[in-house]
């Protein structure tokens, strides 16, 4: 009954989405406010029905109703409750339902909080949102119905992939989807602007908070996934340049560019046409990511779905939306009026440079990910494009961008003073040089790359602080005045500082981890001692334990530093009988931002156990950086100027424009 209700609710959501796709547009054509307002109520009702459908699937999983195929294939009655819930989106059908639920959530949010939007714009935005929703409801109902029943209900389920039975599954996919799908709002706004043929700075002001929300979630989602892979997979890698990771990185790069170009559009009414294109591209890349992961096109074990009908269906969705929106863009973009002028050396110019590098980086990831597929389809040649390619092409694009980052906020709008900005960055430059010199002396002529890269990261962090010091008048004015000015600064300025500093922090982590990572691989018996980076790790013994749905082998280690006992570490290996598979659970010991990492391998006949130990200096900075970036994003989001939305042009504002 619950399954049928969930299924029916999804069908009703589709019906509502179809109404929402058409009536509001007609309403806008005929200038009929009643019809335009249909969008609002249908969006809210749609959210309600999708939520009911999602709740039904969660209930089925929680109550272990194995008469439903989806539950049977991905759950087990002994599984802890949290994994019964997270298991809902640990499979293809459930994750698609999560996808549309989040889409409906964003649509509902626009409907609920979009009161200050012009009526016709809101109608168009929600209609476009409903086109996307309809396509994906159809996809789920036709090819990936999560509510299918089995004739003879089995007594026990097949259990979830053990690797997915982790708290990471509770956080990572929802975050990632909130990011991916959140960009649909910017997309809908862009298409709505093209349909209406009108776009202004107010448009950018509405779009920016939505883009920012999506970007914050995507940033956290990617970072979270990377940390999950790091501790779960057992070899301490945190980024693999895998097509699926690239699929999430591409929208992030494009979204970051969009965030910056929307600033220019809001503040200076320039870069309109480009911002629209970026909004379309960002969500197109999200769709592409969904296609890559969900269709099985990567011809691998990778995508859970291997059924070609799904692939073709998503490809169709992809072609219609990307092709359609780009055609609309080509047709209507020229009608949009170009905005304010600016000199190459200006805040706008810096943001254009940012966009150039970010989109090129995005294009690099795009071609590296899709080239092997295209080549195989066209010529049959099989090549691989992996980490060495991306490291070689991505780094040269990102490093110059990092040099430019501190300059951006210090340049004035319209026409900036590069020399003046450089003078104000002298302190940051000195800090960077000192860092390089100290590291150079410390590593004594090792690779020059690491000190230089860390120097660059220090420059970015110190540059962000310089900007702040400049704005508050710190060191130039009495301390109390500076503090008062700091409080008076717009929150978005603080946001910029944190986000830019976060980039530098992540870079330090990446460079330290890759350069000074030390590793011990060996077979250990009880009472053996492994030495790594000054630490001594003694294997005390190995014990067995029974978990809820697994058996576990634990190895006890005692860690000592300079003869003093520091802590115990217990890495383990888990065996899940339901799937006959096992996972390694690494043990992590955090010291400051550095970590010791132990993972276990096989036991040999003579009782020794294969052990892999790493010391990863400052590795946590890799994830603190994105957390700082996301925090900066949240600060910006809390800025009053964004919260109040776009006010109607007031008299004072018109006066200002006339004066320019």
């Amino acid at each position: 009954m619950i399954a049928e209700t969930g299924h029916y609710a999804l069908v009703l959501a589709l019906a509502l989405a179809l109404i929402q796709s058409t009536l509001p547009i007609l309403g806008a054509r005929w200038h009929d406010p009643a019809l335009m307002n249909v969008a609002r109520s249908t969006a809210l009702a749609q959210l309600l029905f999708v939520a009911a459908s999602f709740a039904a699937l969660v209930t089925l999983h929680v109550t272990s109703d194995f008469s439903v195929v989806n539950v049977f294939e991905n759950s087990h009655s002994l599984k802890p409750l949290i994994y019964k819930i997270t298991g809902v989106w640990g499979n293809h059908e459930g994750s698609m339902l999560l996808w549309v639920s989040i889409l409906a959530l964003f649509g509902g949010l626009v409907a609920a909080f979009g009161n200050n939007l012009p009526l016709s714009l809101r109608a168009h935005v929600l209609a476009v949102q409903a086109w996307i929703a309809s396509a994906f409801y159809l996809f789920i109902l036709i090819t990936s119905n999560p509510f299918l029943r089995i004739d003879n209900a089995p007594i026990e389920g097949r259990d979830l992939n053990p690797v997915l039975q982790d708290i990471g599954l509770a956080v990572h996919p929802p975050m990632l989807y909130l990011g991916y799908v959140g960009f649909s709002i910017s997309f809908s706004f862009a298409v709505a602007a093209l349909l209406e043929g009108r776009i202004d700075a107010a448009w950018a002001r509405w779009v920016r908070p939505w883009t920012l929300v999506a970007w914050i979630f995507l940033t956290l989602g990617i970072a979270m996934g990377s940390y999950w892979a790091y501790y779960e997979l057992g070899w301490g890698g945190w980024w693999f340049w895998d097509p699926v990771e690239n699929a999430s990185l591409m929208p992030w790069l494009a979204g970051t560019a969009l965030l910056h170009s929307a600033v220019v559009m809001e503040k200076r009414n320039a870069l309109k046409v480009w911002t629209i294109l970026l909004a379309i591209l960002t969500f197109s890349l999200s769709l592409l990511g969904t296609f890559l992961v969900r269709s099985g096109v990567l011809t691998s074990v990778h995508a859970f779905a291997t059924d070609p009908t799904r692939g073709v269906f998503i490809l169709l969705i992809l072609c219609i939306f990307i092709g359609g929106s780009l055609t609309l863009y080509a047709w209507r973009a020229s009608a949009l009026k170009q905005g304010g002028l600016f000199a190459p050396i200006s805040r706008e110019g810096a943001l254009v440079l940012n966009n150039l590098f970010l989109t090129t980086a995005c294009a690099t990831v795009f071609i590296g990910t899709l080239y092997p597929l295209a080549l195989e389809v066209l010529t049959g040649d099989k090549i691989s494009v992996g980490a060495p390619f991306f490291n070689l092409t991505f780094a040269p694009l990102f490093l110059p961008l990092m040099i430019a980052v501190p300059f951006g906020p210090l340049l004035a709008w319209k026409r900036g003073d590069l020399l003046g900005a450089a003078q104000r960055l002298i302190a940051a430059g000195i800090a960077a040089l000192v860092a390089i010199a100290v590291l150079w002396a410390w590593t004594r002529g090792g690779s020059a790359f690491a000190p230089l890269a860390i120097g660059l990261a220090v420059f970015v962090i110190a540059g962000a602080l310089c900007d702040l010091a400049e704005r508050t008048g710190l060191f130039r004015m009495p301390f109390a005045t500076a503090m008062r000015r700091a409080r008076g600064l717009p929150r978005s300025t603080w946001g910029t500082t944190f986000a830019h500093a976060g980039v530098g922090v992540a870079l330090i982590g990446i460079v330290c981890e890759t350069t000074w990572n030390s590793e011990y691989i060996g077979s250990m018996k009880p009472d053996d001692v492994a030495k790594i980076a000054g630490y001594e790790l003694k294997l005390d013994g190995v014990t067995q334990r029974q978990g809820p749905n697994f058996r576990e082998m634990l190895a006890q280690f005692t860690v000592t530093l300079d003869g003093k006992p520091l802590s115990a570490m217990t890495p383990s290996k888990r065996n899940f009988p339901a799937r006959g598979s096992s996972t390694t659970e690494a043990a992590l010991l955090t010291r400051g931002a550095s970590q010791l990492y132990i993972s276990l391998g096989d036991t040999t006949a003579d009782g020794a156990i294969a052990v892999r130990i790493y010391h990863k200096p400052l590795v946590l900075l890799i994830w603190w950086g994105p957390v700082l970036m996301a925090f900066g994003g949240m600060l910006s989001l809390s800025d009053r100027r964004l919260r109040v939305g776009a006010p109607k042009p007031a008299k004072a504002l018109r006066g200002l424009q006339a004066a320019e």
């Binding site: 997979l233 693999f240 859970f304 002028l341 090549i383 060495p388 598979s581 390694t584």
Partner: protein
């Protein structure tokens, strides 16, 4: 990332291996310099049954065979380039995670720099065109008449300072 985790698990299940990880203790060469070379080479080589994993990271038995093969060649005195050539001759270009620059990979290697240069060029010409047309527009605008000048004077003088938008 979730799908990757699933992939790796799936591989482990497919191969019937019990989550043995990458490089194992018994594979390590006695000469540390040679071992370092072997590790560096391993990171450039693909485990062909995996999705974009290097043999250094992969736990598939094939990856282990390849790691042992690389070490065998190094022990036999091959240079890095010779080891790579040997593997390419045996398994094809598919084994390289960094494709060689050849006619069929030309586009792959050239696109990033071309995109950057092309983007820069478009921006440059676009900026020039716009500033030129703006300058032309400026000249084509007639100057203010004396009457307008006077009115402007009146308006700016009349505006109380407190009303100025910040």
């Amino acid at each position: 990332m979730k799908p990757i985790l699933a992939c790796i698990l799936a591989i482990a299940v497919m191969m019937g291996s019990s989550a043995a990880y990458a490089v194992q203790p018994d594979e390590i060469m006695s000469d540390p310099a040679m071992e370092t070379r072997a590790r560096d080479l391993s990171r450039e080589l693909r485990c062909m049954v995996c999705q974009n994993q290097s043999i250094d990271d992969s736990e598939a038995p094939l990856a282990r065979d390849l790691r042992l093969l690389v070490r065998e060649r190094i022990a036999a005195g091959d240079s890095d380039a010779q080891v790579i050539d040997f593997l390419v001759a045996r398994y094809g270009e598919f084994v390289l995670l960094k494709p060689r620059l050849k006619p069929h990979t030309l586009l792959l290697w050239l696109l990033p720099p071309l995109a950057l240069a092309g983007g820069g060029f478009v921006l440059w010409t676009h900026g020039r065109r716009r500033s030129r047309s703006a300058a032309a527009e400026d000249q084509s605008l007639p100057g203010l008449t004396a009457e307008e000048e006077a009115r402007l004077e009146r308006l700016t003088a009349a505006e109380p300072p407190a009303d100025k938008p910040a």
